[in-house]
Each structure stands twice: as structure tokens, then as C-alpha cells.
């Protein structure tokens, strides 16, 4: 695998980990999710 493929795969893995962590932490779901983009706090 060349450098580009390695870096790309690395980015994908990091993204997956971030998503997994966010899903695990979102268990106590409040009324309005912060990333729904509607701007209401």
C-alpha cells in the first residue's frame, strides 16, 4: 500500500472511532440533538 492509501485508510479509521464514541455517549438522549442543525440550544 502506498503512502496515500495508508493515510486515507487512517483517516477513515479515525472517523469510525469518533462516530462509535459519539454513539456510545449519546445514550442519555436529550430533547434536541446538538447536531440537528436547527440552531436551537
Amino acid at each position: 500500500m502506498d503512502t496515500q492509501s495508508l493515510i486515507a485508510a487512517g483517516i477513515v479509521l479515525v472517523t469510525l472511532v469518533i462516530f462509535a464514541l459519539r454513539l456510545a455517549r449519546r445514550k442519555p438522549a436529550r430533547g434536541c440533538g446538538h447536531d440537528c442543525g436547527c440552531g436551537k440550544k
Binding site: D2, T3, Q4, S5, I7, A8, A9, I11, V12, T15, L16, I18, F19, A29, G31, C32, G33, D35, C36, G37, C38, G39, K40
Partner: protein
């Protein structure tokens, strides 16, 4: 030994809707809570902090507007519970600031007296004094304070005038709870209260002429006219759509140009390979495919802000009451439904102003069919494919208007059926609405809110959509295989998903790629654009010249394996109809479950809307084919 810092005292802001509580709250706490010129904007409690001139920290609670502490609607009940300290997480307030509109003392003092009867320390904030004096009202705050037995602070919250004096009145120790001077032992308390208010207003708030015809009245003679009012309403709505389409074109061109320039730069910087593909096709294509619609989002919220702050929304609710009655709803449901055009979540929460529990449930159920702003990137991608702008941007605006109308009318039809099935209310609820005076738009305020929404949109694109675009790229790249771009896509995970999904979506006029994109958009509707950008990317080997093909051009050129165009007018209509009806927002389902008080209801809504979307798209596509389109 250090003394423990004392817990900050809590003050609560209460008052009639439109009295200016939230404006005062923003002025006190420096917060930026939403203010609109219609009742029902604040439906839940918000809290902030402020400091007195002596440096003492105070916790401030902004309560929903309340006409009375007796027999309240669900949003008013929040205010009542807060005053009694029955709200979990919020202590009983140590002091209550009762915000009254100086031009409306006869009506607003009712609540103030009820608060004083609760024996909590009270301060009266006499708001909008400037407007009152301009209309010829002669106020005597000192006399009011003397008769009521509580401090009265005149202010104009929107300019900040009098806020310092209010903070000084909040000095510790708080003024002791007053005795209700009108509550003599015998007799009807309500009647005594009313008599007291009448006398008080004679003394301290003399009104020159009860019914001057104001400029607002003159405007209303037209805008509330049974025929002309309705026409004006439709004309205003159509102008908003047309405005969003036409004014957005130039900024959109800039964003697309910038996107192309960055893509060129990356292609020059990096040799062909995975990283370049990830950055150009995945990140730039995916996020860019959503960000390019920022101008439309800004314009949408700008128009909504203008309509809300001018006071027209209350008139719209009045005009729509007759139409909504045929759907089994009342004019009160109009405002929550209108909010849902921006985002269903605050719209669902705003249904707390609806007194009837059954009507509230129905309104919550249909709210997602008011096309929310997340669908705009999808609509704005497909509509120009359907109708090129050379045919006239007003035609495109018409299609958008038709989309919104279809969603709205279907929602009303379902509401009517549902309302009937739920049965009549135990107690009758009647339409009543306060029509606030028209106001010139408060630009500073509106622009701040538009920026806030725009930032939310960009932040969402930069986080959730970025992440999903990267994952989508991964799905369309791995597992790898040798061969040209088409073969590689077919061998990847996304290709496999596409093959599985294709039989399901083919009857709707979509191929596996579009079907996969639809599937991914259940995470966030905007991701549909990102998915298409990744799935329909330009051949890697053809990068010799700068291929600045926009997503739209690539989609227009897309073909089925047998060479037929993929995006025909019929299949695009079917796609649009699918997006009108599909409920693809997990946060909305969560809020619905909370507000309706039941998860089965929310899940039922999801199942119904998904099934309906599929069927509607099916009917459109197959029906159209039968008719020979």
C-alpha cells in the same frame, strides 16, 4: 477556612405573552434567546445568569408567557410549576419579576396580582414605556408601586433603558413578600382583583382615547380582509420562495467556484491515489455538495425572521384558522406548523401552546410533513435538473411552492382523518389570539439569528456530514479490486448495497446508487447530496484536464446500464415526492416521543411516513409510466 460560596438566588421572569420577557431576559443575561412578535415563542424554560451592580450573581429563569395562573395550557403550566418550585431541577424562585406591557396594564396586571397573592417577593417591570407614552398614555409608576406595595421599575427592554434600575431593585435582601391589599376576606377574589385593577388604572395609567385607529389597524383592514388577506398571504409566501431561488444564485456560483478551485489545487498537489480521492471526491464533494446551499438557508431564515418580527405571523394564524378548522385543527396550530418549515423540532415543542391535548397530538404527528430546511439541499439539487433555469426561475420557484403546498395539504388531510379518529375533546377549546401591533423589522436582532442558524448549518456540514462523507467514500472504495472505475465501484461495499437495494427502489424509478444515497440520508437528509457526489464521481483516469463538472452536470449525464438517462422528469418527481413524505430525522422522532409522551406514537409516525413516502413515489412513477410519460 474559606466559606462556601452561597448558591445564587433564583429570579423568575413571568408575564403575558408579548410583554417582552424574553427581550428583558436577553438584556439581563446577555443571552440570545429567540424573540418573535407573536405569542408562543417561548414554550420552555430557559435559564441564564446575571450580576447585580453589587456583584452578586443571580440565576434568571425565563418562563413561557402566561395569561393567568389558573387552568393553564401546557406551556403556561410550565410557568405555574416553576413558580411553585415543582419543576425538577429548578428551585422555587426567590423573587419574581413580573413583566407587564405599560400599554396594557388593565390586562396584564391580572397576572401580577395573582403572583403577588402567592406571597413571593415581587418586582414589577413596567416594560415598553416608550411606546406607551407615545400613544398618549399617562403613567405614574410611583403611584402604582404605592398602591400595589411592590417596587415598579419602568423600562424599555428592547433598548436596554431601565435595566440597570431593575438590577438595583434586585438588591439583597429581596423585598419582603407583599400582602395582597385587595384580598379582603369575604367576597369573590377574582371580582375584587378586577375592581382593584380598574381603580388602579384610573389613578396611575390614564388612557386618552380607548380606540384610536392605528397604522396597524389600517394595514389590517387589507391584510385581514377575508378575500384580499388570503390573496396577500399566498402572494407573500410565493415571493419568499421566489426570493430564495433568485437571490441565492450568485453566492452559489461563488461557492461552487471556490469548491472547483480547491479541487484543482488538490489535484495539482497530489498524484492520483487514495488520499487525493478521499479529499477531492469524499470530503470536498460530499461536504461541498451540502455547503453550496448555504445561501438558500440564509435567505430562508432571513425571510422567516422578517415575517416573525413584523407581527405578520399572528395575522397569518388568524387567516389560516378557517382552513385549519377543516383539518380538525385550530389557528393555534399554525404557528408550530410554520416553525416546522425551518425545523420540526422547535415546531413540535411549540405545540405546547395548544390547549387541546388531542389537537396537540395531531399537530405533532403531521409536523414533519412541513418540509424542513434540511430537505432544501435535496430540493435545490433536483429542481434545476428538472427545470433548467433558462426556462425561468419563477417556474423553479413554482415547483418549490408546489412541493411545499403538497406536503402541507397532505398533512391537513391526514390531520382531518386522525382528528376524527381521536374523538372530540372533553372540554371545548376556542380560538383566541392577540394581534400585536406591526413592528419594523429589528435588523440587528434578525441578522444575529440568521448568522446563528447559518453557523449551525456550516457546523453540521463540517462535523456530521464531513464524517459521513468520509465513511461513504470508504464504503465506495473498499473492498478494492483491479479494473476501471465502474468495476471498482461495483466491487465496493456501496456497490454491493446498491445491488441489494436496487430491486426495492427500481419500481420507484431509482437505481441502486440512488437507492443507496436515500438509505444514507436517513442519517441526515443533506447526506443525500454527499452520497450522490461520492457515488457519481468523475472517472479517476480522466483527470488530465480540470474536470470542473458540478454534481448537477454529472447527474444529468448519468445512465442506466442500457443507456437510458437515469434522471428523467418522472423519476425526479418521484424522488421529490419521496423526500416530501419521508421522515428521516432521528432527533425529531426523539422529540416527538418526549412531547407526545409515548415512543409507540413516535415510532408509529416513523413507520407511517416511511411507508407513505415509498407508496407515494411508487404511485407517481408507475402511474406516470402508465400514462405514457
Amino acid at each position: 477556612m474559606h466559606a462556601l460560596p452561597p448558591t445564587p438566588s433564583t429570579i423568575a421572569l413571568i408575564g403575558n405573552p408579548n410583554a417582552g420577557k424574553t427581550t428583558l431576559f436577553n438584556a439581563l443575561t446577555g443571552a440570545n434567546q429567540k424573540v418573535g412578535n407573536y405569542s408562543g415563542v417561548t414554550v420552555e424554560l430557559t435559564s441564564g445568569e446575571t450580576f447585580t451592580p453589587h456583584g452578586k450573581k443571580l440565576r434568571v429563569l425565563d418562563l413561557p408567557g402566561c395569561y393567568s395562573l389558573r387552568a393553564p395550557s401546557p406551556d403556561e403550566q410550565v410557568a405555574v410549576d416553576a413558580l411553585h418550585g415543582h419543576l425538577p431541577g429548578y428551585p422555587k424562585p426567590d423573587l419574581v419579576v413580573c413583566v407587564v406591557d405599560a400599554s396594557n396594564l388593565e390586562r396584564h396586571l391580572q397576572l401580577a396580582l395573582q403572583v403577588i397573592e402567592l406571597q413571593l417577593p415581587t418586582v414589577i417591570a413596567l416594560n415598553m414605556v416608550d411606546m406607551a407614552e407615545k400613544s398618549g398614555l399617562r403613567l405614574d409608576p410611583a403611584k402604582l408601586a404605592e398602591e400595589l406595595g411592590v417596587p415598579v421599575v419602568p423600562l424599555q427592554a428592547s433598548t436596554g433603558k431601565g435595566v440597570i434600575e431593575l438590577k438595583q431593585a434586585l438588591r439583597f435582601p429581596f423585598p419582603t413578600a407583599p400582602a395582597a391589599l385587595w384580598a379582603t376576606g369575604d367576597g369573590d377574589l377574582e371580582a375584587a382583583r378586577r375592581a382593584f385593577i380598574r381603580q388602579l388604572c384610573e389613578l396611575a395609567a390614564r388612557r386618552p382615547d380607548a380606540h384610536q385607529l392605528t397604522r396597524s389597524d389600517q394595514l389590517d383592514a387589507w391584510l385581514l380582509h377575508p378575500v384580499f388577506g388570503g390573496v396577500a398571504f399566498l402572494a407573500i409566501m410565493f415571493t419568499v420562495f421566489w426570493g430564495i431561488f433568485s437571490f441565492a444564485k450568485i453566492p452559489m456560483g461563488w461557492i461552487e467556484g471556490a469548491q472547483g478551485a480547491v479541487a484543482d489545487w488538490l489535484r495539482a498537489l497530489l498524484a492520483a491515489g487514495d488520499l487525493r480521492s478521499l479529499l477531492v471526491d469524499g470530503v470536498l464533494g460530499g461536504v461541498g455538495g451540502v455547503l453550496v446551499f448555504l445561501p438558500q438557508i440564509v435567505l430562508l431564515f432571513l425571510f422567516i425572521g422578517l415575517l416573525e418580527s413584523s407581527g405578520y405571523m399572528a395575522r397569518a394564524a388568524y387567516l389560516m384558522d378557517g382552513v385549519m378548522a377543516r383539518a380538525g385543527l385550530s389557528g393555534k396550530a399554525f404557528l408550530p406548523l410554520f416553525s416546522s418549515y425551518a425545523c420540526a423540532i422547535p415546531g413540535v415543542m411549540a405545540t405546547r401552546t395548544i390547549g387541546s391535548a388531542k389537537e396537540r397530538l395531531v399537530t405533532i404527528f403531521i409536523a414533519p410533513w412541513m418540509s424542513c430546511s434540511a430537505r432544501l439541499p435535496v430540493y435545490f439539487l433536483i429542481i434545476p435538473l428538472l427545470l433548467h433555469e433558462s426556462e425561468g426561475s419563477w417556474k423553479q420557484a413554482l415547483v418549490l411552492f408546489a412541493i411545499y403546498t403538497l406536503g402541507t395539504l397532505s398533512a391537513f388531510a391526514v390531520a382531518r382523518v386522525l382528528r376524527r379518529r381521536l374523538g372530540p375533546d372533553p372540554a371545548a377549546h376556542h380560538f383566541m389570539l392577540e394581534l400585536p401591533p406591526y413592528r419594523l423589522p429589528q435588523w440587528g436582532y434578525i441578522l444575529r439569528h440568521v448568522l446563528e442558524r447559518a453557523w449551525s448549518f456550516v457546523a453540521k456540514a463540517g462535523t456530521l456530514i464531513l464524517g459521513l462523507s468520509i465513511l461513504l467514500w470508504a464504503l465506495s472504495t473498499y473492498p478494492k479490486c483491479d479494473g476501471d472505475a465502474t468495476a471498482a465501484l461495483a466491487a465496493s461495499a456501496m456497490g454491493r448495497i446498491g445491488r441489494v437495494i436496487e430491486p426495492v427502489v427500481k419500481p420507484l424509478g431509482f437505481d441502486g446508487r440512488v437507492g443507496t444515497a436515500i438509505l444514507t440520508s436517513f442519517a441526515a437528509r443533506e447526506v443525500f447530496n454527499s452520497s450522490l457526489a461520492v457515488l457519481f464521481r468523475v472517472d479517476k483516469t480522466a483527470d488530465k484536464k480540470a474536470t470542473r463538472n458540478s454534481l448537477r452536470e454529472r447527474l444529468a449525464a448519468a445512465r442506466w446500464p442500457d443507456g437510458r438517462p437515469l434522471f428523467t422528469p418522472l423519476s425526479m418527481l418521484s424522488l421529490l415526492v419521496f423526500y416530501i413524505y419521508a421522515l428521516q430525522c432521528l432527533p425529531t422522532t426523539a422529540v416527538v416521543a418526549k412531547e407526545a409522551g409515548s415512543w409507540p406514537w413516535a415510532l408509529g409516525q416513523f413507520a407511517f411516513m416511511s411507508g407513505f413516502a415509498y407508496l407515494a413515489a411508487l404511485v407517481i412513477f408507475q402511474g406516470g409510466r402508465l400514462l405514457g410519460f
